[in-house]
Symmetry: C2
Subunit: 487 residues, 2 copies
C-alpha cells in the first residue's frame, strides 16, 4: 500500500524545517483521502512505515496524522493504526489557481440586480481619457509632500493612540477649511469621514429613506446619486430646473429627501441664488425633508468667489453637506466627508462602523497634516490657476473648431463644462462615436430623470494640458465633421 | 445710511490682497441683508461712496457687488445703484462654529434604527482595555517598514497609472499567501478588497439577501455578522452547535445564506471537521445557499497547523471566503477582503463602486509590497510566537487565580479564549462589573441568537504583555471575589 501513496502523490520533499515537511505530508495524505485513493475504512501504515516511505523522521509523520485527526480525515484509536474516516470524494485541494464553475443556483438580491444594471459612468473609474468630467490632474499633485505626510502619520499611529472612526485632528482641520472657504456652520464632531462623496451620499440615503419613499433629484442631475437613491428602493422623481435651479413652484408632492448641487449645478453649472435657497430650506423645514447638498467641486472657483454653502443658511438642521477630496486632490485618495445634523452624529458613527465606512488612520492623519500645514490650500490655489487656464483653452479651442455645432457657456468654476448641441441631435450617439476614438464625453441626455429636454456633451478640462486639450478638440472636430458627412 | 453699515458690521479690514478684501466686504453686506439691517428694496450707496466708507479701492467694492448679484442678494440694473433683493431674514452666516438645534422632524429609516439599536461591542472600536477580544498588539507592529511601504506606494501612484478598484498587485500577492497558508482555490480576480471583514460581510449579505429571506448564523456566533444580516431585513435564525460546529441534522428550513466560522468557531474556538464541512457544502449546493466563511484569525495557529479553508473544498462556487488584515496587522489598517464566486466578480466590482467600498491606492500598493517582500509572513510568524506565549500566560494566570470559577480550554490559535462560568452565573453582570474597573470581557451569553445555553467570558490575550496580563487577571480575581462576598 505504500506504493499507492507513492504512486498518487509526489513524495519529493525539500529537506527544510520539520513544520514544512509535516505540512506537505498532511497535504498529500489529505489529497489522497479526498480523491478516494485512500478509501473510507482503510487503515494507514504505521508511522514507522510511513516515515520510511516518506524519508522523514517518525515524529514528523505523527504530527501530520494528529493534524488529519483534528480535521476529521482519520480516526485514531490509541495504540492502533489510524483509519480513514467517512469522507466524500472531491476534487483535490491543490495549491493551483483555478476558477470555480460559477455561482450556480445562487440568486442575487433585488438591490444587487439594481446596482448591476446601472450602466452609468463612474467619475472615479480610473481612466484618464479626455474629456472625462471630474478628473483631477494627478501629474500636478504634490506626491512627495503627500507621501511624507502618509509616512509620518503611519509612524506616529502607535504613539497617537486610538482616535475612533473619525479622527479629531482631521475633523478640526477640515472644518476650519470649510468654515473659511465654504461658509458652513457646524462643530467638528458633526463631520464624518468616508471613502468618497458617493459613500457619504449612500450612507445618508440609507439613513433617511425606506423603500417606497419619495426622493427628488435635479433633472438633469448627478447620475451617481440617482443610482444610490434608486437602490434604496425609493421612488426617485426628477425635478426640472429653471434659471435658479430646482423648480419648486407648483409642486404638491412631499419628498423625504432632496438631492441637489446648489453652488454649481451638476451638470449645467447653474448657481442657485439666495431666494431659491431660502425657498428650498423653508420647504424642507416645513415638511421635514432632508436635503443632501453635494458641493462636489466648489474648491475651484475662477470668476468672483464661491457662493456660501446652502448648509450655512440652514438653521433647522435639515441639510447634509457632502464634499470630497477626490477632485481637489486625487481620485485615488479615497476620502469624502459629510456634515450631518447634530442629532444624528451618533447614528452616523454607528452606521459607519456597521458598514465599515471608515478611512484608515494613516490617511486621516496625513490629510489632517496636509490641511493644517497649508499644503491643501496651496494646492487648491495652484490648481485653480491651472484649471482656469485650461477652461479657457478648451472654451476657445471648441469655439474655433466646432463653434457652430456646440454652444458653450464657460463655467465660473469646477472641472468641466457643458457644450450644448442643437435640438434634434443625438448626444449618446456622438458620445459613442467619440468613445470609438478613445475619447470620453458624457452625454447630457443621460443626466435626465424623466423627460429629456436638451442634448449636449459634458466635457472635463482639468486633467489635460494645453497640447492634450488641442489634440482632443481636433479629434472631436474630426468626429463631428464625419458625422455631418454621413448624414 | 453708510453709518448703518458701519454700525452693524465690522469695518476693520486688514490691508491684504484685494481678493480677500472683496470677500470680507461681500460677507459683511450679505450678513447685513440676511439680518434685515438692509431691507428689501433698499438701494445701496454708490460704489464710490461704499469704497470711501470701507476705505478700499472702488473696484474692490464693485467685485463684491457683482458677487452679491450672482448670489441673488442684490439686483443690479445697468447704470443704477444696486437694490437689495427679496431675501428672508435669517441668522447671520458667520464663520463661528455652532451646532444646529437638531434634526427636527426628520425621520430616519428602519435600517438606521436597526443599526442604531445594536449595542454590540465593535472589536475595532479602538480601545485597548484588557481583555478586549480580537485586538492585535500595535506596539509589536513594524510601523517603520509599513510607513516606508506607504510612502513608496504614494510616490509611485502617478507612475503606476490607474489600477481600478481592486489592485492587481495586491490581489496577486494576497492570493498567493492565501493559497499557500489557507488552501483557498481561486484566481486573483475573484479577490475583492474592502475596508474590513465587516464591510465584506455587509456587501455579501446585501448582494444575496432580500428582506424577509432566511439567514442562518451559528449560536453562539459573531454578533457583528448578526447585526449585518438583521439590517438587511432578513429573518436571522441562530443554529445551535454540537462538537463539530453548526448542527445540520434534522433541519428542514432552507436558508438563503449561512454565516459560519468553520476553522475556528467564534467564540467557542471549535474546529469543523471534514465530514461536517462536506455535509454543509452538499446542503448548500443542493438548495442554492450562499455560505460566508469568516476566516477571521486563522493566521495565528499555535498547535499543529491551520485547517484548510472550507472555500478550498467548495467545487460549486457557493462559498464566500472572508478575511481581514485588522487582526494580522493593525485594527487601524482598515483592509479586509473576500473571495467571491467566479460569476459574481463583476457584480461585486459594481457594488464596490456603488457603495465606495474601495481602499485607497496607497494602502493597496503598500500592502502588496508588504506581502510580496515577505514582511507580512515574517510579522505573522513573530506574532504567532508572541501570542502563543500570551495564550499560555493568560491560561495559567486564570487557572491559578480564578481556576475554580472559570473553565478554560486553551485555544489552538487565534487571539482570544473562552472562559466558561458555572451554570446559573450571570456573565453580563460580571462583564459590567469588570467594565467598572476598566476591563473589557465580552459575555458569552450575548453571542447567542435564540436560546442561551452557556455563560462565560470571552477574553483577548493578544494585545497585552505578560505583566499587563498578570495585572488584568489579578483585577479579574478581585472583582470575582467581591461578587462572591456580595452573595
Amino acid at each position: 500500500m505504500p506504493s499507492l501513496l507513492s504512486g498518487t502523490i509526489d513524495l519529493k520533499f525539500a529537506p527544510q524545517d520539520s513544520g514544512r515537511l509535516t505540512r506537505q505530508i498532511t497535504d498529500r495524505l489529505r489529497a489522497a483521502i479526498l480523491s478516494g485513493a485512500l478509501p473510507q475504512g482503510y487503515r494507514l501504515p504505521s508511522s514507522r512505515v510511513l516515515a520510511e516511505d516518506f524519508k522523514v523522521a517518525r515524529n514528523t509523520v505523527s504530527s501530520a496524522i494528529d493534524q488529519l485527526a483534528v480535521e476529521g480525515y482519520v480516526v485514531v484509536v490509541h495504540g492502533r493504526r489510524p483509519v480513514v474516516a467517512a469522507v466524500e470524494k472531491t476534487q483535490l485541494i491543490a495549491g493551483d489557481v483555478l476558477g470555480h464553475p460559477g455561482s450556480g443556483a445562487m440568486r442575487i438580491s433585488h438591490w444587487a440586480r439594481q446596482v448591476s444594471r446601472s450602466d452609468r459612468h463612474f467619475t472615479n473609474d480610473g481612466r484618464s481619457r479626455p474629456f472625462a468630467p471630474g478628473l483631477a490632474d494627478a501629474r500636478e499633485f504634490p506626491h512627495e509632500i503627500w507621501a511624507r505626510c502618509l509616512r509620518r502619520a503611519a509612524r506616529s499611529r502607535y504613539l497617537s493612540g486610538h482616535a475612533g472612526v473619525n479622527h479629531p485632528a482631521l475633523r478640526t482641520a477640515l472644518l476650519r477649511h470649510l468654515v473659511e472657504h465654504r461658509g458652513v456652520k457646524a462643530d467638528a464632531r458633526r463631520l464624518i469621514i468616508t471613502s468618497s462623496a458617493q459613500a457619504a451620499i449612500e450612507l445618508i440615503s440609507r439613513v433617511i429613506l425606506n423603500a417606497g419613499d419619495l426622493a427628488w433629484i435635479e433633472s438633469p442631475g448627478y447620475g451617481g446619486a440617482r443610482t444610490v437613491l434608486e437602490a434604496t428602493g425609493a421612488r426617485v422623481k426628477g425635478i426640472p430646473l429653471d434659471g435658479s435651479g430646482l423648480r419648486l413652484a407648483g409642486r404638491t408632492d412631499r419628498p423625504r429627501l432632496i438631492f441637489c448641487t446648489p453652488s454649481h449645478q451638476y451638470p449645467t453649472g447653474r448657481l442657485m441664488p439666495i431666494a431659491r435657497r431660502q425657498e428650498l430650506l423653508a420647504f424642507a423645514t416645513e415638511i421635514g425633508t432632508a436635503i443632501i447638498e453635494d458641493d462636489y467641486d466648489s474648491e475651484f472657483h475662477f470668476d468672483g468667489r464661491p457662493v456660501v454653502a446652502l448648509q450655512g443658511l440652514d438653521t433647522a438642521g435639515h441639510v447634509f453637506y457632502v464634499g470630497t477630496f477626490s477632485k481637489s486632490m486625487l481620485p485615488d485618495i479615497r476620502v469624502g466627508y459629510a456634515i450631518v445634523p447634530d442629532g444624528l452624529v451618533e447614528t452616523f458613527e454607528k452606521v459607519q462602523r456597521h458598514t465599515s465606512q471608515v478611512v484608515t488612520g494613516a490617511t486621516q492623519g496625513a490629510l489632517a497634516e496636509f490641511i493644517a500645514d497649508g499644503d491643501y490650500a496651496t494646492h487648491i490655489r495652484r490648481m485653480t490657476r491651472i484649471y482656469r487656464s485650461r477652461r479657457d483653452r478648451l472654451t476657445h479651442a471648441l469655439a474655433s473648431v466646432v463653434g457652430e455645432r456646440l454652444a458653450i457657456t464657460p463655467p465660473a468654476g469646477g472641472m468641466q463644462l457643458l457644450a450644448r448641441l442643437e435640438p434634434g441631435s443625438d448626444d449618446c450617439r456622438l458620445a459613442a462615436d467619440l468613445a470609438m476614438v478613445g475619447m470620453m464625453a458624457r452625454p447630457l441626455s443621460r443626466h435626465f430623470t424623466g423627460r429629456i429636454t436638451e442634448q449636449g456633451l459634458f466635457l472635463g478640462f482639468a486633467a489635460w494640458d494645453d497640447s492634450e486639450i488641442d489634440a482632443g478638440v481636433d479629434l472631436l472636430g474630426t468626429v463631428i465633421a464625419a458625422k455631418l458627412r454621413d448624414r
